[in-house]
Each structure stands twice: as structure tokens, then as C-alpha cells.
Subunit: 348 residues, 2 copies
Amino acid sequence: MTKNKEQNLESLGEFGLIEHLTSQIEIKNESTLKGVGDDAAVIDYQNKQAVVTTDLLLQGIHFDLVYTPIKHLGYKAVMVNLSDVYAMNATPKQITVSIGVSSRISLSFIEELYEGIKVACDKHNVDLIGGDTSTSLTGLTISITAIGEANKEDIVYRKGAKPNDLICVSGDLGAAYMGLQVLEREKRVHADNNSVQPDLSGYDYILERQLKPEARKDVIEYLKAAGVKPTSMIDISDGLSSEILHICKQSNTGCRIYENKIPIDHATSLMAEEINMNPTVAALNGGEDYELLFTISMEDYEKFSKETDLKIYTIGHITEESKGKYLVTNGDQEVELQAQGWNAIGKH
Amino acid sequence: MTKNKEQNLESLGEFGLIEHLTSQIEIKNESTLKGVGDDAAVIDYQNKQAVVTTDLLLQGIHFDLVYTPIKHLGYKAVMVNLSDVYAMNATPKQITVSIGVSSRISLSFIEELYEGIKVACDKHNVDLIGGDTSTSLTGLTISITAIGEANKEDIVYRKGAKPNDLICVSGDLGAAYMGLQVLEREKRVHADNNSVQPDLSGYDYILERQLKPEARKDVIEYLKAAGVKPTSMIDISDGLSSEILHICKQSNTGCRIYENKIPIDHATSLMAEEINMNPTVAALNGGEDYELLFTISMEDYEKFSKETDLKIYTIGHITEESKGKYLVTNGDQEVELQAQGWNAIGKH
């Protein structure tokens, strides 16, 4: 992938580009019978079930090329899909990738994007089995579909939560949102005075959470090893508040979330202080954390080993539906949870 | 879907929109265990294999909203994907649909688009199992992934053609391209003088071929009933020339296509004459016909019943690779086939 960097897309053509980008792909999974190169890919899960999810990422809505390293963007585009597969307690096996790019974009730009996609696939042992590449008259468009497999009895839906179940989250929240605030601030400063270089030092953790999130394969593996099957699960893409409401709605339950139990990293709190914002709000409504939110029965809680590096935080419990859905604040007040999360239609 | 036509998208929000659009979806296939409404859909093909294909349609590249009825666009967006599934000799069962729309677009516009998508799904007995809906800062974006099933032994790849196999096509070619020429011409006339109404009368057939193509489910069913398994198959989206070259390349063969055997509808010829174009060129390079191109062994040819309304045209035969890939013209000359088909990267 190192030669022909300056070759333009027109001279390659669509088939040439696809061949160029996919020639080095090696199939990793037994279930992938045919990848790129026919009218469709062929997969065989035998006696397992398939889960399918898809996400569309549009320039200016979901990402800003001013501050997003293109390789990270490719990586993240895969992660947001794999995260949905893990949230079903399934293992991702295949993805298709469709991209629309301006014909003025360089080949090396697209190669970088695919490089990020491939790193993500390698890390999660996923096969890139097909896709579509097109010119776009407007911005960069990335559409990914991920397919995964699971035994029928292992699949976890949003709907299985029961009163008294514990509500757990797999990592700290609000950091990705705070990373975005840093990037947006530096973009504004740079726009006002473009001799000023962006100052991103000291914000590593929250920037990485925004630019290079990691789908929680390790959590799924840990749950399996511990013999714990969550009663419900969802990934946190739109903020804790929105996600727990999805679980409650589909499970016909209420919930209590305790503000003082919500895991918030020190770096998130520092940045929140800098911009005069309550970090709990970032956790509840910020989104893009890609942690797993799940419920487990009380009995299963004891199965979590104390000897793992992996942190599972218990942040509340499920209640009867009639008890409502509330956040219990540090001041011991009950505030009704509202879905104010990332709303791509409403907010942009 | 009739009320709230004037409701704007912002007030609905993303989840509201998805719920609004998907609330009336009924699952048609046993293999669809869970459709819209969780992190991922769940499907179970048991002992069958799954085929997966995806297509990205971008405004200004793949469609022009000036002359494309939005409901037809939804229908066509599904058809181009189902066509790829049929081209594997498989049966489509599920699709996911992701759309990006401007927040200025009305709810009724999106409803129309989904209406076309649903009509297509109903006709082909396909379940809409998920997707993503987002604001777009630019044009309309439609990304569809189709999943189908087949018995392992029934799947037909591009690579199985053998010397002496007959080359068959399921319907006439070049009409969709000619329909596009009519639409583009009327658009230019209207742009020059917008008091002139577009005159599309008399062009019904070629316009329908362009705006509302039909994926050839009937052909797959006919082949199965006749006991014929093609040795290779592909759908014609980029023109006959490009597609037969794909088959030859993957099968390591050559071919001879006979110009006088290529099925061209009278309406296509008339329009070609009007614009002073050779209709064979439209068939070879026009694209978007969504007919099936396949090869069969000589022995299988006799299995085609004379009593069907369904027309299968034999247009040539496969040769040894060393014999090259040629069109035999009406003047009995051999012209090397070239892939000049629809090339979304190169031409737009």
C-alpha cells in the first residue's frame, strides 16, 4: 500500500480502487466463506445465530476532518459497529464498508482510512467482506454493517431487566464528550487566529476516548468467563440517560441510578471544571463512550472476581415500572431521567 | 403514516423518527428473530448459508431528485441490493437501511422514501430489520445492506464458467440508460426554459427501466424449477461488457458475445436513434439494467421449457482464456470487449 500514493482516483477507477484497497485482506474466520469480489459475500454460522447492525457516519455530523486523524476515523467507524455487536453479547465476525469520497481526495487519504479500518478488524479478528466505493459530490460518507455470531441462548437483548437487578457499566463515562469539547475549543481558537497552534497537551485520555474509542470485547469475554449472563445490555453511544431509558422501556421497569456511583475519570472532571460544567451531565447526556451498560441478577454479582483488572461499576438498580426512572443525586434528591442524549436529527 | 405530515424532524427526534417509520413493520420471515429495536438484529439461517451485499446511493451521483420520484427511489435502492443477492442464486430475506437527510426535509418526504422501501420489501418478502437515521449536512444518502440465504450447494459465484458454456441474459439491455437520457434531456430543456413542462410521454418503458427496475426473483425461481444451476452468474449493473469481463476474469476464460443476439427493446432502439447512438453501446456500457447474466452448460440448455413467458436470451459462449474476450459484430468483425461501464469514481 505504499506505492502510487499520488495516483489519483480517476485513473484507478472504482474496480481498481476496490482491488487496491482489498488486495491484502486475509480472511480470518472460518465462517467467512467468500469475502470481497462477487455480487455478495457468503457466510456460514452453522448452528449459531447472526446479529446484524449498521451505522452511517457523515462528515460534518458525526466527525470533523479538521481535527480527526483519518486513520482514527476508520478505526472508530468500525468500533461503533462492533460495540453494537458486543452489546448483544455476540462476537463480531464480518463487516462491510461503503464509502463515498470526493474525487478530489487523494488515494493516500483513502488508504489511511482503510488502514484504520484494517487495524480495527485485526484487533477484533473481524473480516472485511465487502462494500461499495463511490464518488461523493459532498462530504465523506462511511457506512458500515457489522455481523456477528452467538449461540441462541447467549444473546442478550435490551428487554430482560427485572426489578432488583443491579445496573452495571463497564468503564468511566463522559470522557469522550469532554474530548470533543477540547477539540472544538482548539478549533475555534485556531479559526480566530490561525497562527496559534492547537494546544492538546495534557488532554490525552479524553482525546483518546473521543477519537479512538474501543469496543468492549474484553467485557464480553470476562462475563463469559465469570459465568454471568446479563439480563439486559446496551452500549452507551447516546449517553447513560438515554440508554438506561431504552432498557427500562423495553423491560417495562423503572430504575434508580446513583450519581455518586457513576464512574467519571479524573481527566473528565478536570475538563468539566475548566468549562464550568457538571461532569455528571457529560456522563448522562454526552454520549460516544462505547461502554457497555447491563443489568445482572443480584446472585450473579458475587461471580465477579476481585482479581481482574477489568472494572465493572455498579451504579444503581432496576425497580418496578411504577417507581419511575430517577437519578439519585449527591444531595440525595431524585431527579427524573430524561433522554437528552446525542440526537443527530434534533441537534444538528 | 398519514397524520403529522407537516411535523418537522427536529420535534420528532431520531428515536421518534425511527419509531414512526418502523412501527408498522411486520416480520415476514422465520429466520428474522429480532428486527428493529435493539443494538442489532438477530437472524437464524440454521443450516443454510448467508449472503451479504451492500450499496451506497448518493444524491447527485446515483440519483437526481429533480426527476426521480422519491417513492421510486426507495424502491430502486432496495432492488439494486436484492439483485446482488439473486445473482448469488440466493433468496433475500433481510435488509438494513441507513439514511442521511437534511433536517430541512419534510417528514412526508422520508415517509415516501420508506413507502417505496416497504413496497419493495413486501414484493420480495424481505424484512427490514434495522438501520440508522441521521441528519446530513449535504444531500440525501441511502445505504442498504441485504442479507439472503441459500443452501450451500446452490450458491453461484462469478468464477465457475467453463469453455463451451452458453452465456445467457434474463432480459433486454440498454433501456435504463436510454431512460436516463430522456430524463437528462428534459431536465436541460426545463432548465433553459422553465415554462416548458417535461414531455415524457411515449417513453414509459425506458423510463420505468431507469426509475423502477425490478430484481429478477422470477428468474432464480425459474432456474430452480427447471433444474438448472448456472455455472456462473452476476447481475448487470454496470453494463454487459463490464459484467462478462468479471465472469471471464474470475473464471479464467474468454468469451464471444454476438451483437445480433443481444436483446434490445424496440423502445430502446427508437430512443437510441433519436439521440444518434448505437443501441448496442447502451447495452454494453449503459448499466443499471439489473438483469441477470449467467452461464450454463450446453446440456442444461434443453431444460429450459418453451412454455414459459419468461425470456432467457442466449447471447454467446465461453471460450478458452487464450481466445480473448470479443464481441462479434453484426458485420462479423471481432471487437475486443472493454469495461467502459458505469464507473462512479472515474466519471462523476
